[in-house]
Amino acid sequence: MGTRPSSRLVDVIRKHESGILADWVKTQFSILKSTERLSESALRADCERFLPLLRAALQASGDEDIMTPAWDGPRDMLSELSRLRAKAGYTPSETAVFVMSLKQPLFERLRGEIGRDADTLADEVWHTTLLLDRLALFTTEVYQKGRDEIILRQQEEMLELSTPVVQLWDGILALPLIGTLDSARTQVVMENLLQRIVETGAGIAIIDITGVPTVDTLVAQHLLKTVAAARLMGADCIISGIRPQIAQTIVHLGVELSTVVTKATLADAFAIALRKTGASLARGSKS
């Protein structure tokens, strides 16, 4: 197939613009109706914007290579639409239907125009299909990219959320870990903790692993690395919140934690930390 100008399609769109628009909106709405997410007027506005853009691009470029600058208009509009739909929670097919449902009205009008000339009709239909498929694929690609961006952002947010370093006392920091520890998270945790040690001048850091569901050799290694790095900076670490199950696992795996002070609860660790800093708590008599 050569890159022959689709002048026929341009003519058809210009001639039957309002008819195509009406059919197109109707087809889409009948498909999307069940999802109850879109109002007909909003859909119509989108379609009204897209059709002239498509026609202008067809006229300017004349072929189906939608990656050329001539197609900037439709591409930008489709990207925007896909991103919005990705954010609004549409499925990929609900997003692609925007372009796909344009086929039926266009084919009908082409048939009306060309009539009984089967060769020309088949040719025109082929070119139109090629074009619309490419546009639909592009839509899906952008949709997927939009979803990926959302996932990536959420992962980063979770990383930020899950590693707070809190100051318990003058010179005592606590790091309550929640969730599984992998290499990337350990890095963030370690950096956060060390940074806070520098900022606060804390001599003792309590790493509480109550919220860590499982401890395997890798997690233990990550923990030991964090402890070693803190020690190099001059801060002692206490690991607390070791559940009975985890204590068993650690021993069975043969992980050597003897170089680190470990405590069953954060309260015990805090008591030790207070004693080490020379502070003491006394229960005042209530009068």
């Binding site: 890095q187 370690m190 950096e191 060390l194 940074q195 040690i197 520098v198 001048g201 804390a202 001599g203 690395k225 070693a228 790095a229 803190a230 020690r231 190099l232 900076m233 001059g234 801060a235």
Partner: protein
């Protein structure tokens, strides 16, 4: 030739590394420091590395070696003010410097040296 200055303060020696360490500089420091520990009969060495931004395995090992040599010469070593990035690098390199005392800043480092020396002296008295 470039040298890292070593200051004497009572029975302690102070070393502040303010420039980027390179291998030759580290070797010179090792020579100078062992020399001075003997000459000044120093009991403690405080190495401030708060300005040190880049370390490699060689420099990491040199720090450990200097501390070990000082211990042989009966002087306690404390390394103070290590930056987070440096600490992470050393740990990733597998150098946890187990024999070296560390501290957050010079104040705490001096305190650590004094208590270490006080305890050490106590031990000597017990031995006799």
């Amino acid at each position: 030739m470039e040298r890292i200055p070593i200051l004497k303060m009572n029975e302690f020696l102070l070393v502040s590394i303010q420039v980027d360490m390179h291998d030759r500089l580290a070797m010179t420091l090792q020579d100078d420091l062992t020399e001075r520990i003997v000459r000044d009969r120093a009991r403690g060495v405080l190495i401030d590395i708060s300005s040190l931004e880049v370390v490699d395995s060689f420099i990491g090992r040199m720090i450990g070696n200097i501390a070990a040599m000082a211990r042989v010469l009966d002087a306690e070593t404390v390394v103070v003010g290590m930056r987070p990035a440096v600490a992470i690098t050393l740990v990733e390199l597998g150098l946890s410097l187990d024999g070296v005392r560390t501290s957050l800043n010079v104040d705490k480092g001096m305190e650590l040296l004094r208590t270490a020396l006080a305890n050490g002296d106590g031990h000597h008295d017990d031995d006799r």
